[in-house]
């Protein structure tokens, strides 16, 4: 392990043009190594926890590990992961030119504290928690506002989840949380139970509704019904005076009975109970005594016993190991492209984490830091594993490297949102689209647009709708793996809107390029804008040759080249 650390640290230091190699051969080897480690800490602003994470990862590798990503690759990756959009050409040039040895750490801080951060996390967790479910009971704007404000104020993660489960509509700030329960499909209690288990406990217990899970020993039918018992009294009701939806709870009358379809005579029962937790006793009240507040304004009375409120506390408790581990697993996945437990919803003994000690460490530390999301993301961003190059180390064959070894950075596909933001930015249409107001009665819908019945979207919300419908999954299907589709390729090839964006015009990217006289500069601008890096000499030559072949139609040729860069794998992949 020490050898690995030393060699990787050497490569890291090499980046910053320190040449300590000759010193290793002397007897003061250990001193040198200590200095190197201190340098690493200083240079990368490494939290000691980041170092421990790297130790646990590097302890398990069985071969060479890639060095750090280039500045350009690191810049683009952090922008996408923490801000949900590629950097501008100016930001690229500025970062590459910056000589500050702490620039990576500074960038991370910057990206964690700007507006784009909370927007990016809101987008990522909306997709994760709502899975593109729609529904008109609660406007998506209310949910977005709740979530984005929560991330902006760095609300602790356990509190965010608790507020979602509590679903308190009386408070303006938490009104939007109801969307978790009212989105299409979620009003069916079985679906709700399954989603709560998957998303907050890492347990896919669909099959355990009818019988103990046939292949996962840990997932029992009692777990399913125990969780259902917390949720099955919840339903939406409208407050007549305020004309607002509340998530109310009916009176729970007792335990839930269930039996396996394989042995319908063997009946069992369970009250509200988290998997691995203690069953909550369902109190029995005298008839007429069940409510703490009577029915009013179209809402049913508030029961004295409110299982969902109890769930909100128990689910998010620091002592709920499953919740904590699932949470850190998902934040890890967001940054690293893969969960320590993968698939994310299969956390059980027969599918252990790739690095069990690491999962445990992260869980403990997350609790110790009171579920601080920014802190956790900062720690992860400052690890060597996060900042690793996607290029293989010399002499290593691709096939040897598994994603869970983290010997190279795992490439992630851009999410639909990242794709939309990034394409809008690089083509230069972002500002005009953001400024365009969406009419109240915008009749924009993707089906009509695709079939040529209505004009193209021109504002942010409608444009996002188009992109997410093309690049996103159907409602209810998690977006975890990179799944490029031919339909998406056809969109990029033949969608008129994309091609319009690549035409010259005021403020447009191609417009700027066609005015440049120096074609080498055009090449640099193309690559910096679209791929967030400088072109190699070969790439510059390739571009120049393309321009030469098309000297009579230069603008179109530049547009073609820009299109190719945008549709390249290097653009689509967050590497």
């Amino acid at each position: 392990m020490l050898v690995v650390q030393v060699s990787t640290i050497l490569e890291w230091l090499n980046r910053f043009r320190l040449e300590p190699r000759p010193m290793i051969r002397t007897a003061s080897c250990r001193f040198t190594v200590a200095m190197l480690l201190i340098c690493a800490t200083v240079i990368y602003g490494q939290d000691p926890l980041s170092g421990r994470i790297d130790q646990l990862i590097e302890a398990k590798v069985n071969g060479k590990v890639a060095g750090p990503a280039s500045d350009a690759e690191f810049l683009r990756r952090s922008y996408l992961d923490l801000n949900g959009i590629v950097p501008t050409a100016a930001q690229v040039r500025s970062f590459l030119a910056d000589k500050n040895p702490q620039k990576r750490s500074k960038l991370i801080d910057q990206l964690l504290n700007n507006d784009a951060y909370s927007r990016r996390l809101r987008e990522a967790f909306t997709v994760m928690l709502l899975e593109r479910r729609t529904g008109s009971t609660v406007p998506i704007g209310q949910w977005n506002s709740f979530l984005e404000t929560s991330f902006a104020s760095n609300k602790p993660w356990d509190k965010i989840v608790r507020e979602i489960i509590q679903a308190d509509a009386s408070n303006d700030q938490t009104q939007g949380t109801l969307k978790f329960f009212t989105a299409t499909g979620r009003t069916v209690h079985d679906q709700l139970t399954q989603d709560v288990a998957r998303l907050f406990l890492g347990m896919n217990i669909h099959c355990a509704k009818c019988h103990d899970h046939p292949t996962v020993d840990e997932f029992k039918q009692a777990d399913y019904f125990g969780l259902l018992a917390f949720l099955n009294q919840s339903k939406a009701a409208k407050h007549t005076a305020k004309n607002q939806t509340f998530l109310v709870e009916g009176v729970a009358t007792g335990k839930l009975e269930f039996q396996s379809v394989f042995s319908p005579d063997e009946k069992d029962q369970v009250g509200p109970r988290l998997p691995g937790g203690k069953e909550v006793a369902v109190p029995v009240f005298e008839k007429g005594e069940e409510l703490s507040q009577p029915a009013a304004d179209g809402l049913p009375g508030i029961p004295k016993f409110q299982p969902r409120q109890i769930l909100a506390k128990e689910l998010t408790s620091a002592s709920n190991r499953r919740f904590v581990e699932n949470s850190v697993n998902r934040f890890w996945y967001l940054m690293m492209g893969r969960g320590l437990v993968h698939p994310l919803e299969m956390m059980h003994a027969e599918n252990p984490a790739s690095h069990p000690e690491l999962l445990k460490l992260l869980a403990e530390e997350f609790v110790a830091h009171k579920f601080d999301v920014k802190w956790l993301l900062g720690v992860l961003a400052r690890t060597r594993v996060y900042q690793r190059a996607s290029l293989l180390p010399a002499g290593v064959v691709i096939q040897e490297i598994t994603p869970e070894s983290y010997r190279v950075a795992n490439a992630k596909g851009m999410t639909p949102e990242q794709t939309a933001w990034s394409i809008m930015r690089v083509t230069g249409v972002l500002d005009e689209i953001i400024k365009k107001e969406r009419p109240e009665d915008s009749g924009f819908n993707v089906k009509d647009y695709i079939n040529g019945r209505i004009p193209a979207p021109d504002n942010l919300i409608d444009t996002m709708l188009l992109f997410t419908s093309i690049f996103g999954n159907p409602p209810g299907e998690a977006e975890v793996e990179f799944q490029p589709s031919m339909g998406q390729a056809l969109f990029l090839m033949n969608e008129k809107l994309i091609l319009d964006w690549l035409k010259p015009g005021k403020g447009r990217f191609i417009g700027r390029l066609e005015e440049m006289k120096d074609f080498q500069q055009v090449a640099r601008e193309l690559f910096a804008t679209v791929l967030a890096r400088n072109p190699s000499d070969q790439e510059t030559n390739d571009f120049l040759q393309h321009l030469e072949k098309n000297s009579m139609r230069r603008t179109a040729a530049i547009s073609e080249y820009a299109w190719a860069l945008i549709t390249s794998a290097e653009f689509k992949l967050n590497h």
Binding site: C210, H211, F258, Q259, S260, V261, F262, S263, P264, D265
Partner: protein
């Protein structure tokens, strides 16, 4: 018999007095009008006749395919049954060994699911997969064909005045036909009991059961709504009460005991209570509704049920339901020797409070 005179119809106190078991699921049951017998048919080619006084069972054989339904003639002698090969049979059920009086092998082109006899004994009605309701004389002469249903016929019920016939179909329509002229009197919309979502391969649901209360002119239609698939066919059991004259829906009756299958059998009791039995993958219930509110006044949890029948004395309700035999579900989990079909069970409920045992003398 002191307790008999003092007893009151009270479904909340209903208790099962008798059980009859059969080696297959039983889907149709009726008490004979004389009150002596209970006859049942199920997913095999026989009927079973139990004598209530002795519990003795006699098999009635002759059908070649599954028997879909049976109905008694008011003459206290004849019994009609229909099968899935298109056959209509008529029996004298009163003999020690019931004997076949006549049969029509091709009464219909495919399954005959239901048979009904008018209270005045003049008409026999049959219906099934060929979507045509056929009327016959009591001796088996074909009289009328009632065409117009767009789905399989799932339920048949004569009006107590014997002048009209209610027919419920797969597509969620109930048509009321005049049995003398063959004209359609009215069509009731029960499409809430039918589901076919975009990705279904077949129609799911239908009007599976009917019951009529002439005092209030209420037609109870049983089935299920909101089916989610045509594979597991899970839905919400539902009974819709229709006011026949106006064609309007009076109320929707729900189940309080969780079940995911249709309400298969309905029967109004002498006091206006509605009894209904349902189906479910993990079990269902026998429910009793007062028809004043949507939820039952009493419900008894049990495995899937297929039919209910009222004894002519008005005090006893027979229910036929599923009975497990060995392990069910996917895959083998048993040996060839122990792999046998599930059973049917008929329970005869007494609809009054169980009398306290007489003190020993």
């Amino acid at each position: 018999m002191k307790h008999l005179m003092e007893r009151q119809l009270d479904v909340t106190k209903a208790w099962p007095e008798k059980k009859f078991q059969w080696e297959r699921q039983v889907t149709a049951i009726q008490f004979s009008p004389c009150g002596k017998f209970l006859v049942a048919a199920g997913i095999d080619a026989q009927l079973q006749r139990w004598e209530l006084a002795t519990d003795e069972r006699v098999a009635i054989k002759g059908h070649a395919g599954w028997v879909g339904d049976l109905a008694f003639h008011s003459d206290q002698q004849r019994l009609y049954s229909v099968d899935y090969h298109g056959g209509l049979f008529c029996w004298d059920y009163t003999e020690a060994q019931p004997k076949q009086l006549w049969s029509k092998a091709d009464a219909h082109q495919s399954w005959v699911r239901k048979v009904a006899v008018s209270p005045d004994g003049k008409h026999v009605a049959t219906g099934g997969n060929d979507r045509v309701v056929k009327l016959w004389s009591a001796t088996g002469q074909s009289t009328l064909e009632l065409k117009g249903h767009e789905g399989y016929i799932f339920s048949l019920l004569f009006h107590p005045d014997s002048k009209s016939l209610f027919c419920g179909d797969q597509m969620g329509k109930v048509k009321q036909w005049d049995v003398s002229s063959g004209k359609l009197i009215r069509e009731l919309d029960l499409t809430v009991l039918h589901t076919r979502l975009d990705n279904f391969l077949a129609e799911v649901g239908g009007v599976r059961s009917l019951a009529y209360d002439s005092k209030r002119d209420l037609l109870a239609c049983g089935g299920m709504t909101n089916a989610k698939s045509n594979a597991f066919c899970p839905g919400d059991p539902l009974v819709v009460l229709m006011e026949v004259e106006t064609g309007k829906e009076k109320m929707q009756l729900k189940s309080t005991i969780k079940a995911d299958g249709p309400v298969n059998g309905l029967q109004f009791l002498p006091d206006g209570t509605l009894a209904g039995i349902g189906e479910g993958a993990s079990g269902a219930s026998l429910s009793f509704w007062s028809t004043e509110k949507p939820t039952p006044i009493h419900a008894i949890k049990m495995l899937s049920g297929y039919e209910v029948a009222l004894h002519p004395d008005g005090w006893q309700l027979a229910v036929s339901r599923f009975e497990t035999n060995g392990r069910s579900g996917n895959g083998r989990h048993s040996t060839p020797e122990t792999y046998v079909s599930n059973d049917g069970l008929i329970e005869v409920y007494q609809l009054y409070e169980k009398p306290a045992p007489e003190p020993a003398k």
